[in-house]
């Protein structure tokens, strides 16, 4: 599965995207796996109230399933317009 990072999440993790092998069933489980990867991830995902997630390019919640998903993206609250 492709995992993407935008804005300060990208800066903190240190890369814009990566291929991740996971057996996580939900976004929240995936976040726990990522945090276990090291300090950069732990810092990026420290305050989950400030993190938004999209699964296959649809905004969703931390509890959402990622079974069969091709792309999970993490980013801060959006500031368009």
């Amino acid at each position: 599965m492709q995992v993407l990072y935008f804005a300060w999440l990208r800066e903190r993790v240190g890369l814009p995207r990566e291929e991740v092998e996971t057996s996580a069933a939900t976004v929240a489980e995936l976040v726990e796996e990522l945090k276990a990867r090291g300090e950069r991830y732990a810092v990026a995902f420290k305050d989950m109230a400030a993190v938004r997630v999209a699964v296959d390019q649809e905004l969703t919640e931390l509890g959402a399933s990622i079974k069969g998903a091709r792309e999970v993206a993490f980013f801060p609250p959006m500031t368009g317009g």
């Binding site: 390019q57 801060p76 609250p77 959006m78 500031t79 368009g80």
Partner: protein, 143 residues
């Protein structure tokens, strides 16, 4: 397809002329143009976005607006990349037989776009612009 996500600038007069050209059934045309305001920490910002999802999100917002109001046409343009103070960032154009529908649809699109389209602003000083609570609150009136 009436959604564009692009680095290039756009011409509001040309967009409006293109939308009304050759027809005489439109009564009201409302446009919103968002501009980069001069900033304390330098006069350039960078707009990051999520290619692919951005287009989908804007198309979904447009479809929702068309479902709620009697729109004859609709156009959304959003830029990304480096932008200087004074530059155009976003453009929304709505056409309807009635002025209230055109106004409300344009406001609705802007309110959703602000908090639901995947764009992030970074100021020249290096700081990411925080989401405004007022923008999130603005969505409430459409629910």
């Amino acid at each position: 397809m009436s959604v564009s996500v692009q680095a290039e600038d756009f011409d509001v007069g040309a967009e409006m002329a293109a939308l009304t050209s050759g027809r005489a059934d439109i009564g009201a045309l409302v446009s919103f143009t968002g501009l980069v305001r001069e900033m304390a920490g330098g006069n350039e910002m960078v707009l990051e976005h999520y290619p692919g999802m951005t287009e989908k999100a804007l198309e979904a917002i447009e479809a929702e607006a068309r479902g709620r109001w009697e729109l004859q046409d609709c156009r959304i343009i959003h830029r990304y990349g480096p932008l200087e103070a004074g530059a155009q960032i976003v453009f929304v154009l709505t056409a309807s037989p009635h002025r209230q529908a055109a106004f409300e649809a344009a406001e609705f699109i802007m309110d959703f776009l602000k908090s639901r389209a995947p764009f992030w602003k970074k100021e020249a000083g290096g700081g990411w612009v925080d989401a405004r609570e007022a923008d999130e609150a603005a969505l409430g009136r459409w629910c």
